[in-house]
Amino acid sequence: MDTPKKNPFSLQIDVSRFEKATEEEKRQQDVMSESTTFFKDGMRKLMKNPLAVASMIVLILVIGTIIIAPMVVPYGYEEMISVNGKRDKTAKNLGPFEYSKREQAVIDEGGSVFPHIMGTDSQCRDYFIRVVEGTKISLSVGLFASILVLIIGVLYGSISGYLGGKVDLIMMRIVDIIYSLPDMLIIILLSVVLNERLANSNNPVIQSLGTNMVSIFVVFGLLYWVGMARLVRGEILKIKNNEYILAAKAVGAKSSRIIRTHIIPNCISVIIITTALQIPSAIFTESFLSFVGMGVKAPMPSLGSLANSAREGLQSYPLQLVFPAVTIVLIVLAFNLLGDGLRDAFDPKLRR
């Protein structure tokens, strides 16, 4: 190799720098970025989203409270407050951290009484534990209803999308018909009819859940899966058009394998995102139904029925409405923001 005869920029030229670089040195320049999986990359994005992180913290706090509160708080959600084994009729509509006369007496004598964090209701029950229990009921209704929607919607949508052709055509027209039904009307009709039917049932599961709860599930199962089904079908139609499905066919893979290894993993993120967004809407519907008196049965509380019963004393005890209402808003908002965050982080459509 020639050494430079002349130095172009009056720099001090070091001849050794003009030696040929070794393969090793060159390879060091060409490093591949760190390996990330789709999931890791998505989580990294999710963790960068402040709203999503805040929502997650809120939800963890709420769920933590649901688990811990019944262990710590010595009151039950359906029992009247009693002092020394006797019912305390004076503990009616107390404000937060207030004590009834008889409780005050106990404290004065040196005994200890667990504080009523949110006060008590008109029937002398600790309101905090009722709100906690109501949140638990609302959350589980939301969760189970969404799972129900998930199962029915995904099954229906994937069958329709994968088979295509005439089957798809007929299945989607059914979805269109269900879509066009006025849902609130159907819900009210169904719960009236179901209530009558199920009231006489001896089935222990139905008895313990309450007929209204069962009818909510039935309503979700019958009506709310259509959105999910449409979405899954659309997603599958799109995935089916990708060349990797064709490649799998060219390799000789059977339909079951293609669905299992290619189609499901590729639409799972869309399904998770939709489910996360379905939960708040289910909670909302449940609360609404309970508020209008078609939801869970007393004495079982839900956030909606708590708000409903607080309505009567609204002028004197507005906080009794504020507590469940704020909880609903908090949960619904947190789930919605988390769902949005999940979509931003995991939806393949928004990538690249």
Partner: protein, 339 residues
């Protein structure tokens, strides 16, 4: 330089242009110190592979970068005026009247809701004080100019009724409706078939002669460049590898990347031989080497190439190249050729 001041400034001069994008993975330097000159009525070809910064350079001139992109350094001089400091109003005037752009995909660059004629008229009306009827006449004439038969009928059609080649013609008609000095063509024929590509390229050459406009053609296709360009800029990893006349670049390439590129494409001469590919993978702009962008793939890479970005050296015949090999072989000339 003293005698040059009296001379008219070149039509377009890009000096040390830097454009970067803010992404969630960090700042990406898409264009890194690009300079070139475009003279009136000439064609400049910018060639490079994806991620070389060739399109970003074109978009920087028009200032139509995406939200997260911005020019960080350098000047773009149009007839001696720096347009990087133009207000958005001045820029609007510059776009269209002085400089127009056509894109790769004629499908998405036309609005499907309006008729073809409407869109050309719109382009005329934005920049000129004309009545509707006059604009309509201009639009129909433009359609005729770009070789569309039956212009009156096509005028009333929507973009989806036209074929790809026809749409690209309409795009050109729109771009030329306000009689710009410069036409920037960003991969104008990549989405088209060869026979249609030939039509469009010929049309562009014909119009250039008729209207005496300058063209900047951005492409990855060396064949298209060879046919169209007077001057060529070769880009890699956001930097210019070399620039010069078409003959210089094709027959005396002075950068290892250009040499490798010319060796690696199949041509009539090397049909029977094995191709000589460029090794390695294209550069990742997020992970730029310290030295020359091409060093990891270069067969003749030296130690200095890994450490220091090569300076742009003047070679004979108005040819500039940034490659340390020219220092080793002492190809460069001491002073720029034009002085």
């Amino acid at each position: 330089m003293a005698e040059n001041t009296a001379k008219k400034p070149p039509l377009l001069q890009v000096v040390d242009l830097h454009t970067s994008f803010t992404t969630d993975k960090g700042e990406v330097q898409a264009v890194n110190g690009v300079s070139f000159t475009l003279e009136e009525g000439k064609t400049l070809g910018i060639v490079g592979e994806s991620g070389s910064g060739k399109s970003v350079t074109a978009y920087s001139i028009m200032q139509i970068l995406e939200q997260n992109g911005h020019i960080t350094q350098g000047q773009i001089l149009f007839q001696g005026n720096d347009i990087t400091h133009y207000s958005s109003k001045q820029m609007q005037d510059f776009r269209g009247k002085k400089c127009s752009i056509i894109f790769q995909d004629p499908m998405t660059s036309l609005n499907p809701v309006y008729t073809v004629g409407n869109q050309i008229m719109e382009a005329v009306l934005v920049h000129h004080e004309k009545s509707k009827a006059e604009a309509r006449d201009i639009a129909i004439n433009m359609l005729k100019l770009v070789g569309i038969n039956d212009a009156e009928r096509r005028f009333k059609q929507h973009p989806h009724e036209l074929s790809g080649g026809m749409r690209q013609r309409v795009m050109i008609a729109m771009a030329l409706a306000s009689e710009p000095w410069i036409l920037i063509a960003d991969e104008p024929t990549t989405a088209l078939d060869v026979t249609i590509q030939a039509q469009i390229l010929e049309l562009m050459q014909e119009l250039q002669q008729k209207l005496n406009m300058a063209i900047i053609i951005v492409t990855h296709d060396l064949g298209v460049i060879a046919q169209m360009a007077d001057e060529i800029v070769v880009m890699y990893g956001g930097r210019i590898c070399e620039r010069g006349t078409a003959d210089e670049i094709f027959y005396h390439p002075a950068h290892e990347y250009t040499k490798g590129l010319l060796r690696s494409i199949p041509s009539v001469d090397n049909m029977k031989e094995k191709l000589v590919p460029i090794a390695g993978t294209p550069i990742n702009l997020l992970n730029m080497p310290k030295g020359c962008a091409f060093c990891a793939r270069c067969d003749n890479a030296m130690k200095i190439c890994l450490e220091e970005v090569p300076p742009e050296l003047p070679l004979p015949d108005g040819h500039y190249a940034s490659c340390w090999m020219n220092v080793v072989n002492h190809n460069y000339v001491e002073e720029p050729a034009d002085e």
